[in-house]
């Protein structure tokens, strides 16, 4: 097993090229947030923008636009029901995250199907939360599974893989990953990443992070890392490690790590790792 350490951050987080513009750092589209779970996609957006993604658009139920902008005017918004605009939007992005707070309605299923069908060869697709459940229960097809990331917690992985939680051994998980081809970020108190070649094992993270919204924040960070540093197991692993590393530091002083408090720290941490000597090169 590949034990994650802060080396992954030093490796992945590069110094930004001087002659650049916002397009240089990627376009992300985050899709989620129905009438009940709008906070989830707001948290994903805060995480994504604070990693430094160049341009971030949030596709969510109309009622979530105002609170999103109240917290984060840096995001752009599209109404969930505006399929035409969504299709247009997806043409030109580097990474798509679908799932945080999406819910399980029939409308949502139809949007999810459309998104899966629109994935382009050069686009990464992160499938999180209820989108995993919908994907699993309707056995939806993937166009470019090698550019798909699933971020299930253990119950969602059970739905996706068919493995009961006590059967979710590294060997079994690895086998199921190979069937799916997609990268699996299996979230637990020690998250593991299955990418088809190896298993990355997170060495940080803590119980103070076990609260609603932590996964939504992680999903947004993965989107932000892929937007900037390209899609790869390493980008994904770096986001996973950084999320837990910040959570560990906050847990030194907090009984519970409020997810949005992680996002507030991302940019300082990334600056720090971007400056460290990259001995592996």
């Amino acid at each position: 097993m590949n034990q994650l350490t802060e080396d992954i951050l030093i490796k992945v987080i590069t110094q930004r090229p001087e002659n650049s513009h916002k397009g240089t750092f990627g376009r992300a589209v985050l899709i989620g947030g129905n009438n009940q779970y709008g906070g989830a996609i707001i948290m994903s957006a805060e995480a994504c923008i604070n990693t430094g993604a160049g341009l971030t658009t949030v596709v969510t139920a109309e009622k979530n636009h105002a609170p999103l902008h109240a917290r984060l005017p840096e995001a752009m918004v599209v109404d969930f029901s505006d399929t035409e605009l969504l299709v247009e939007l997806l043409k030109n992005v580097n990474v798509i995250l679908v799932g945080p707070g999406l819910g399980l309605s029939v409308t949502v299923l139809s949007i999810l199907k459309k998104i899966l069908s629109l994935q382009q060869e050069n686009q990464w697709l992160i499938i999180d939360g209820s989108a995993i459940t919908l994907f699993a229960s309707h056995q939806l097809p993937l166009k470019y599974p090698e550019k798909v990331v699933f971020t299930p917690h253990q119950k969602e992985w059970q739905r996706l893989s068919g493995l009961e939680i006590d059967k979710q051994t590294p060997e079994n998980n690895q086998e199921k990953q190979k069937e799916l081809t997609a990268t699996i970020v299996l979230k637990s108190h020690r998250t593991e990443i299955y990418d088809g070649n190896q298993i990355w094992h997170n060495t940080v993270g803590n119980a103070a992070m076990a609260t609603g919204g932590t996964g939504d924040t992680l999903a947004g960070m993965i989107a932000g890392f892929i937007a900037q540093f390209g899609g790869s197991s390493e980008s994904i692993a770096a986001a996973v490690y950084l999320h837990s590393k910040i959570g560990d530091d906050l847990a030194q002083e907090h009984y519970v790590v409020i997810p949005t408090s992680i996002s507030q720290e991302i940019s300082r941490y990334m600056k720090n790792y971007a400056q460290k000597e990259r001995t592996e090169e």
Copy 2:
């Protein structure tokens, strides 16, 4: 009388088990906030989430969803008028808080009746604010009174117990509590808790906390403590003590203790007490 000290916090606030997930720390549903008093339930939610409750859903008038999410994307929301979803939601939670900013309308009475009728044996129910007034004036029935907490201030206690304020002596209060069976958190400048066995007497708290919203914050903290540490007089007493303790510290520098400023401190205080040696064990 049982004088509350910080020992109650050291006893109640446990270290979190390492192998845990958000479900481990309880599901809370907070019901309140009509068109006029939406801020009340927002303050309860901030308090509850900052104690570390695993998953918190707020059932409130639709107009309060956006400001809630603008402050607190960690919460989930359900529209007050969506009775079907409320019924579904209540099936699977550990603690229910009803009352902050609820108002006294006929619709509200009907929702309150439904909530009371849906309480399950393993669920705690906190009845606060106008829900106390409605409960008292309509003599509503309780299914599991031993798992009910009322949080009246003195006038609300008068409505509930029939005791005029100058008759609210410990003896009289205790007698009325025995009739109700439910735990009583009788709020005043020195809050008392009647649990059927003993009287807990709060030794902290101050006049700078006498401002609108302080009680809503307390109610949310009690919900958060019960969600995580189980329903017991000790959980309730710990929440009461911590609320006043933070208020006392803030009042060292503030003429008025803005209720939401209490919530901002909860997590740091809890971390501190969770680390202290628990000599009673």
Copy 3:
């Protein structure tokens, strides 16, 4: 002339009585904020609540409720157009502020007339902003002018008094005040207060405070001081002085003093002055 110094704060800001509750510190109703100027009444509310008023209700256009709650869940809200609820509300309050961001529409005029007609002998009424303009242009009657405060800037004072700005000498102002009976807070870079007996002259304040919203914040502070410390020239003068004093301190480090940044400091300043020895007693 009576030169204002920090003595006025030491005199007015009392220590809170230990055995008290939120009702002890007054009920304030703030009326203003149409579709264009909603921010004004939000700023008044932030100021009022941060002085420590016990219960604050904001009567404003419905569209302003969400942003108010997003910033300040401690406030209660009533829709501007709900005259019935407004009438009910006004029965039981200590101080009424009308005007910040109110605008000049016909509806507003009718609401203003109603408010003036509902003033009770034990209630103070602060008339600010466009309510001054409406009052002046329609020559509205006052029921208890000795319990009314007008807070005009120089142009509004011209409308109210008929005095051109260059005729606004202390003598002329004093004469016009006597006709009106009400207390006049004449705002300028050195605000003056005319109360029928004397002229209070503010010695603090600065040009960094000359920005939209500063007056709305002051109006809210006056409401909060009257709610807690009773209606008197001294309460009003204390609020005026504190507002400018905080502004001066902030201007040490800021080119412009953003009005809401004043409100963030109120509670600390008041605590400080409440603790100083009150040599005059």
Copy 4:
């Protein structure tokens, strides 16, 4: 070429006259923010108000009013579709910014035409974002081009000037500026300003600022500087320099400079430069 240094700030940012009021520091109207890009005009408004503009009104789609007020009650709002009110509003302002988040719809084009036709001789007009694209593609007329500022990034400059990006040399740009007469703020990793007489070359700024919203913040700062210090190349150059200077300082500790974090620093920086000795006078 004129290399920008902090001397431009010392020169432009004057001490405020003591006897002043909010009108002294200018009236700004900011027009932008459709249903998708509302955050852009919110960011412009935060920047403008934090420079110290006396009165700032934001004309934007109705759905953006609540989040704007939740962040910034200091701003006034007007609904985008209320042309009558917009016309009234424009009569009495010093500086108009049009474009951030405006979009490209037919309605927007018609509003832009109206704004251009209403410019008065004593008013400065800043044309940003999609308003540049609309202006270029419809070859709209300017009434007072010598009081117009365009703030294109390189692609927008291509649309406006016809110059492909690799043809955008100082000489070519200067020639095109002379055709347009208006001042050009050509944004890139080293922004240049063409004013008809000279070329100002920004010496600060960094890649951490390459994220969505940075340009909206700059546009708001330029509006705020013109509102207070008058329209001139120097005012514009000072805003450009300060924006990048703050960005450089923030980038010392942040991997990405979140645009709204720039606005939070403006007032402190301006105070600092206002106090420096102005050796050039």
